[in-house]
Amino acid sequence: MPTPLDKWQERLERHFESLARKRSSSGFPIFALEHGLEQGELDEIASQLRSRLRAGLQLSPHWLSWVVYATERGYAYTGDEYWHSFEESTPAWDFSDRDRIKPWFKKFQKAYNGVEPSGPWAEHRRIIAWPITHAVLPRYLQREFARALYDLRFRLATLAGLEPARIGRLLAANAYATTRFQEFLQQEELTGRIVLALLGAPSGDEGREPIYRKTLNRIVVDLEKVRSARGWLKETQRIVSDRFKGIGRGNAPVQRPAPDIRERHAEQLPRPEVRPNLLLRYSGDSNWTVVIDMPDFRGVAALDGEVASFLRRTRCRLNGAPGRKPAGWLLSGSRKSVLRTWPDQAKPLLEFEQPNAYLTHLLESECRLSAGPVWLFRIGADGTAFEIAGHIVRPGSNYVVVTAGDLPERHAFASACTIDCVGVKAFKLAIPAAVGAEDTRWLHKLGLQIARTIRVWPAGMPGRNWDGEGRSEWLTTEQPILALMHDHPVEAYELSIDRGGEQVIKAGNPGRPIYLKLSRLSVGTHLLTIKARRTGALGEIASAPPEGHLQLSVREPQPWLPGVVSHAGMLVRLDPPDASLDMFWQNKVVLSVLGPQGRSVSFVLHLESRDGSEILSENVGAPMELPITPEAWSKQFGQFVKRERVAWSLLEAAVGRLVINGETLGETSFRFEHEVPPLRWVLRNEHGNIVVRLVDETGQEGEGPESSFYDMQRPLRRGLCAPDACRAGLTVQRPGGLFFARRGQHSDMVVVSTGLTAGGLQGLGVSPICDEIGTVALTLAEPCRILALWRKARLAGFLADSRCQQVRNSIVIAIFERICGTNWASAESEYRRNPGSANANENLKRCVVDGRAPGFAVVLHRDHGKMNGNFGQASAWYAELARRYKVCTDPGLCTFALKFASAPDRIEDSYGANLHRMLGQLAAAPAILRGARLLAALCAQEQGPSITGASLLPRWRW
């Protein structure tokens, strides 16, 4: 006899009341997943809930059971469609029933201090955000979660305190992961608690645990079932276990809002070492090139999610280097750049395109050129010279001295050399084994000192960023070992770190090093002070300084991230670094690969569905020889996506992974995700038929989404789609078209291409008819709006790209024909077919003002090259010409005509509500548009073949 649903409801109420009572002092919120039920019990409840639903009985008495039921679906959520799987497992669930879910969860939140979804992701999914948030760590995020912990294991092990929010922030800042996972990590307090629980942090008293023990065990068991996650989790636990042993949880775990980001930056974020290394590279014929080697900013990114995101998305400029560095450059493996101009000392060595308060502050104070006006570089055996910030020269060594002032007077140590850098001069300095008093004075005048006679160097393990004289870098996992050697009698060394207590170590014989091991150091910069306690004989070298310093910069180790080539000889650049799968598919991603000539690189594209199953795994063409330019990649990928099988594969893909294999040079992979907006069209291939279905997760009340369809053959004719039909799925008829949906601020559009339009090759294309323009049904502004939809839409299906372009060209031609007239349209058409023909060019000119003011068209034709420069100036030139030839006296209309003539698909973005009025003015004075079109056609033709070639749209920047 099964337990009645009422009893289950009562049991759940008792359970959550008890949990809420115990947890009330801790401030931890409660998750519906903390229900404490076994799988069999969950099945029994689910079965009874479904029975009641089928029977049409009231649902609200068992609201808590429904909360648990919905949360379980949230736990099993694959990241794709919540409602689809919910409705499949819940027969008789009606679309309108969705609105019940949110009030039940709100009730839960109020009654038991339940967690409340927050952040942009939750704001855009007002209903499903509840069950998914209450699922704590849905299964589809578990693998990424374990991987993120594994990548951060060293950093977790060295956190100063175990505050959940701080741990969560660390995780969020380091998530090189999917968009959704990054969004999940925005719940810093929650993720921090999960981390503490998973890694075995000391659990508090009963009720003070962040997550109900049984629920946590369930998540851990599930996590361990996920591929590799078990190993990652165990390894992370091993690394951090010492840290967690015998340590309290830091601050009391009282829930509080995350501090304001600006406040956090100002007061809480540390200031990691970001001082670049300056070096000179010998380029032959006594000439040197200045190179800057920027530090890895991953340590900076790890401090804060906002900073990490800023670094990934913002380009930067080096003080003294030409051009800008791409977004994410400071996080990449290769961060060297040539400086053609000596850096301006008044500014930091690096600046970002956009301001960021924390980074600006950091760069202002930490990322500067060392003090001039003289800079010293010691020449290594391979012709690379490293800066010696301490200005110390050593007998027997060679240097390059860079100076902003004049070169010194002639001296036996100095010889001429040149430096390929504006603003400074250089000379070579060869210090002999013996340096006399006169020479020492000469060096002092230059601001240089002869080295001390006590040498220090990293012993055993080679030093990281060791400059040979006093600066070195260490990791928190290391215990520095240093060697000390003197060439004169020294009795003992007095050593202290950061001016703390002194420790005396007996010195050995001259010429024999002693070795010292330091204990582990915390993150930051430390100063080791070494004082020589002299014997009487030491008085002979009175010039030796009594104490020396060694700067030890200590940082966390950076984890190795698979798929990211760091130091290998293959450099892959992707711009933008966070492109969506659609953007990648439309070949809008700039990709280049640099490396040794003669080596080949292969590209493999993997497409996966949301559940991780592979849809496609194919080589993108033949291996390509290095270096690979963006143009070469674009051509190869363009051919790849045109293949029919490949094109269809995209339909059901959620994730694309491009693996770039350089064999021994390494392997790099990039992940592209389909954006999953709350309102979206999804596509499925059902036995050769394409079915398009509208998914609405906006959770907005009121009328359903507005949806429409534009056929490729009639691309301006709007067909309405019933909301229910869209939700159920529409079979796309050949040749396909544009599906558009909008609800409130959310919208989505996709062009679906399917089937042939006729037999033979002709059937590959489409023949759009656009005769609605200017009719009562369609004002002039409307085609521009629809044209913009065709431009912005995602593309899906075979030949979608070329067919969509055909549609766009047809609309553009029809719009211009409607305003400029049929004579003009014929003239443009003739010019498109044969742009080199003198007749075609003459005809175009003749049609601009219908035989009046022919000089206007002649000047435009002759001087059309002016349009390729600054648009503002070109626009003024055009307006002046129009005024002079009495074609138009309104400069604003002239500018509009030029913009419209070059980009009718973007004009709505600029003119918005004024578009209708401006088009009306243009229709009343079409000659000014024809003049603009003449310029546009000539410029487009000269800019070479492009996807907009058929409609003759130039690439003017305005």
Binding site: R227, G231, W232, K234, R238, R281, Y282, S283, G284, V291, K336, V338, I379, G380, A381, D382, G383, T384, W457, P458, A459, G460, M461, P462, G463, R464, L475, Q479, A483, M485, G500, G501, Q503, I505, P513, I514, Y515, L516, K517, P559, W560, P562, G563, S566, H567, A568, G569, L571, L594, G595, P596, Q597, G598, R599, L626, P627, E663, T664, L665, G666
Partner: protein, 370 residues
């Protein structure tokens, strides 16, 4: 803050512990330690020149080795060994953001592995901040054979799949054993000499050192000399202002260079030294005194001894199918399982034009022939 004084041996023992190396059997500063230290240095400094890599280790081991000169030579040899083993990549003509930075640089190879026919895994690669890129469970199974790192497969285990999961890149046998196209010594020399002849006159080259083909093939170092009255085509090295001397193929007339062709040729994927050693093998074959190897039967296989360096692509075969062993009265030695020896000898004879030395044991070569 605690500062502890260490004895030199303690420093080395500390390094071994930090680098997860087993306690030393004979000497603390063995090949395994030097290789691990070089990997660590490469993780910090690469891309850089060999000289920088060597200098970093020479400095950190200063005072810890009895013979500084010998130490520098050993480090140089182990850099070569790590390049052969795939931990380091020596690349020429690398196109980077800075067109002026072309040259030959050493890069740290990304973590990867090669599956050996025996089922064990040959680990390669270096990462900047960690001495191991594997989780503890796998890292504790890594064994060190000289400069190489291996993991033995456990029964029923899919080790390759596990390493894939950890993000390591598998290099297929096809990639690992890639070598230049097969051709005869005469074909190779004809093509190269045609290119050399088409070079403009070089004029005299200061500091040139040549490999004298007239000298015995069994003493590699003894073959290097300063040109005297030599005439003909020679493998040579010419000094540059900074960095290691460059490999080249040169025409001499009475000891004076008249034409010069730098090695490697453009788009050749291996090192200049690999190209040069292969050319010398062809020259020795042409002159009728091919380079030799010695075959000796050993308890656990066949030992092959070499008297001249082998190109990287040939050494990689020997590492995968066998293992390096300490050389005895030769330049380098490898131990191969008896079953593999015959095929590898055929490869050495066909592709490197080597001959077996007189007095070599026959057992290994015919082990598979009843």
């Amino acid at each position: 803050m605690v500062i502890t004084e260490l004895r030199p041996d303690d420093v080395l023992a500390d390094c071994r512990r930090a680098l997860h190396l087993p306690a030393a059997a004979r000497t603390l500063m063995d090949d395994g330690l030097l290789a691990a230290l070089l990997r660590r240095s490469a993780g910090m400094r690469c891309p850089c020149s060999r000289a920088v890599l060597r200098a970093s280790l020479v400095e950190s081991l200063q005072g810890l080795s009895q013979d500084a000169k010998q130490l520098a030579e050993r480090i140089e040899e182990i850099i070569d060994a790590l390049i052969v083993a795939g931990d380091l990549l020596e690349l020429s003509d690398v196109v980077t953001d800075d067109p002026g930075a072309k040259g030959t640089w050493v890069y740290a190879a990304p973590p990867g592995f090669v599956a050996r026919p025996s089922g064990s895994i040959f680990l390669i690669g270096v990462v900047p901040d960690q001495d191991t890129f594997l989780p503890e469970g796998l890292a504790s199974r890594v064994t060190h054979e000289g400069f190489t790192r291996l993991i033995a497969r456990q029964p029923g285990e899919d080790l390759a799949a596990e390493l894939h999961e950890q993000g390591l890149q598998e290099l297929s046998e096809h990639v690992w054993l890639r070598c230049p196209k097969p051709e005869s010594a005469q074909e190779m020399l004809a093509a190269l000499e045609y290119r050399l002849a088409s070079q403009p006159p070089s004029g005299a080259i200061g500091g040139l050192q040549i490999l004298d083909s007239a000298q015995p093939v069994t003493y590699y170092r003894g073959r290097w000399t300063t040109p005297k009255r030599h005439s003909g085509n020679f493998v040579a090295r010419r000094p540059q202002e900074f960095g290691a001397s460059l490999w080249c193929f040169v025409t001499l007339q009475d000891g004076v260079a008249t034409r010069l062709l730098d090695l490697p040729l453009k788009k050749f994927r291996w090192r200049g030294s690999d190209a040069a050693w292969h050319v010398q093998m062809a020259l020795d074959r042409r002159f009728g005194h091919p380079q030799l190897y010695r075959r000796r039967a050993a308890d656990d296989g066949v030992r092959l001894d070499f008297f001249s360096p082998l190109p990287l692509w040939a050494q990689r075969r020997l590492i995968i199918f066998g293992r390096p062993v300490p050389p005895e009265k030769c330049l380098m030695s490898y131990l191969l399982p008896s079953g593999e020896a015959k095929v590898e000898e055929r490869f050495l004879q066909d592709r490197l034009w080597l001959s077996v030395a007189d007095g070599s044991s026959e057992r290994g070569a015919h082990a598979n022939n009843p």
